[in-house]
Amino acid sequence: MAAGILTVTDSTFDESIGSAATPVLVDFWAEWCGPCKMIAPVLEEIAKDQADRVTIVKLNVDENPDIARRFDVMSIPTLLLFKDGEVVHRTVGAKGKNQLLAELDAYL
C-alpha cells in the first residue's frame, strides 16, 4: 500500500471510501485553518507509519462543501474514520500524534 495522503473531492469521495482495503481516515481541512496546518505533519507521519492499518485522505471543505455538509462538519479540523463505508469514529479539533493514535487504535 502506498504511503502518503491522497486528496479526495465531492466527486471522488464515495469511490475512494468504498474501494479502500483498510479503514479510511478523512481529514476535513481548509487553507485558512491554523490547527489544520498543525496536524498535517502528524497525519503524514501516521500515514507513513501505519500504512498497512489505515488509509488517510484529505478533503478541502472550501472546495468540496457537499461531502462536508453530508457529514455535518461544522468545525475543522474534523477527522472521520470510515470502516466498510460507515463512520465509526469522529474527532473534532487538532490533536497530537499519540493522542490521535490512542483514539483510533480501537478501530484499526
Binding site: A30, W32, C33, G34, P35, C36, K37, M38, I39, V42, V61, D62, A68, D72, V73, M74, S75, I76, P77, T78, V92, G93, A94, K95, G96, Q99
Partner: protein, 312 residues
C-alpha cells in the same frame, strides 16, 4: 544527564522571543512548546487562532497571527533553539538543576523561563462540551466558514470578542454580541468598528445560562443580569471569548502566584525562585499584548543570561 543552560516552557511571543535571545547568547535553549490542539493553549499560543494582527510593530499592513508565530519559531530555530512538541506535565523547582518532565521523560536545566501563557475561558456549561464542533466553537478563524448566512452569537466584551464578532460578519447574516455588562472593555478602535457594523447587534447585561440542541446547537438561553429574566436567542453558532486564565497549574505550590493565579514577578522577570524567570501573559493580566509578551520574553532571556554568568 547534562542539564540544559536554559529551558523555556511555552512558545507564544514571550517564549519564542526568549528563545531567539537565549539562542543568540549561545545558551542552546530547549523549548517545550506545548501540545497540538484547537484551543488557545497550543504551540504558538493564542495568536495561532487569530487572523490579522494590525498592531505588531514592523508590519505596516498587518500580519496573520499564525504566520507571525511560525516566523518567530523559525527565527529561533535558525539560531539553534531546539523544540519539543509536547506539554510539560511536572516540574520540580526545589532541586538544582531544575527538573521538568513530559510524562516520564526527564529534562534538567540550570535556568528556567516560564512562558506558558493564558488559555481562553469557556462558559462551563454542561451542554457546551457536547456541542463543541456542533455549533459551539473555540476557533472563529477555523469555523466561521460553516456559518455562512446563519445567525450566530459571540459571548464577551473585550478585544478578542469584538475581533471575532467583526471577523464572523464575513460569513454570518447576523452576529449578536452577548455581554454581561452594559459597556465594553474593548479598545476604542475595536468598539467603533463593531458598532459601525450593521450585522452586529448587542445583547447587553446578558449571560448565557443554557444551550439548546441535541445533535447541533439550536439556540442559547440568556439571562438578564439585572432583572433575572430569561430569553431565547435563536443561533446556530456560538463563539466564546470571555477572557483568560493563566496556565499556572504546573507551578502551584512552587512559585508565588497572585490571587488570580498569575506568577508574581519582579524586579524584572524574576520569580520568587532564584533562577526561574517568567514572561508573557502567565505573569501579566494588565497589558496582554503580543508585543508586551515579546518584550518581556527578551527581558527574561537577558535576566537568565546574567543570572547564569553570576552563578555558574
Amino acid at each position: 544527564m547534562t542539564p540544559h543552560d536554559v529551558l523555556i516552557i511555552g512558545s507564544g511571543p514571550a517564549g519564542l522571543t526568549a528563545a531567539i535571545y537565549a539562542a543568540r547568547a549561545n545558551l542552546n535553549p530547549l523549548v517545550i512548546e506545548g501540545e497540538i490542539s484547537s484551543t488557545s493553549d497550543q504551540p504558538g499560543g493564542q495568536l495561532m487562532l487569530t487572523t490579522e494582527v494590525e498592531n505588531f510593530p514592523g508590519f505596516e499592513h498587518g500580519v496573520q497571527g499564525p504566520e507571525l508565530m511560525t516566523t518567530m519559531r523559525a527565527q529561533a530555530a535558525r539560531f539553534g533553539a531546539e523544540f519539543v512538541t509536547a506539554k510539560a506535565t511536572r516540574v520540580d523547582l526545589s532541586d538544582r538543576p531544575f527538573g521538568v518532565w513530559i510524562e516520564n521523560d526527564e529534562y534538567r536545566a540550570k535556568g528556567l523561563i516560564v512562558s506558558t501563557g493564558a488559555r481562553s475561558l469557556m462558559l462551563g456549561l454542561e451542554e457546551e462540551r457536547r456541542l463543541i464542533g456542533h455549533g459551539v466553537s473555540t476557533c472563529a478563524t477555523c469555523d466561521g466558514f460553516f456559518f455562512r448566512g446563519q445567525e450566530i452569537a459571540v459571548v464577551g466584551g473585550g478585544d478578542s470578542a469584538l475581533e471575532e464578532a467583526t471577523f464572523l460578519t464575513k460569513f454570518a447574516s447576523k452576529v449578536t454580541l452577548v455581554h454581561r455588562r452594559d459597556q465594553l472593555r474593548a479598545s476604542k478602535i475595536m468598539q467603533d468598528r463593531a458598532r459601525a457594523n450593521p450585522k452586529i447587534e448587542f445583547a447587553w447585561n446578558k449571560r448565557v445560562v443554557n444551550l439548546n440542541g441535541t445533535d447541533n446547537l439550536q439556540g442559547a438561553v440568556l439571562e438578564d443580569t439585572i432583572t433575572g429574566e430569561q430569553s431565547d436567542l435563536d443561533v446556530t453558532g456560538l463563539f466564546v471569548a470571555i477572557g483568560h486564565v493563566p496556565n499556572t497549574d504546573l507551578f502551584k505550590g512552587q512559585l508565588a502566584l497572585d490571587d488570580q493565579g498569575y506568577i508574581v514577578t519582579g524586579p524584572g522577570t524574576r520569580t520568587d525562585v532564584d533562577g526561574v524567570f517568567a514572561c508573557g501573559d502567565v505573569q501579566d493580566h494588565t497589558y496582554r499584548q503580543a508585543i508586551t509578551a515579546a518584550g518581556s520574553g527578551c527581558m527574561a532571556a537577558i535576566d537568565v543570561e546574567r543570572w547564569l554568568e553570576a552563578h555558574h
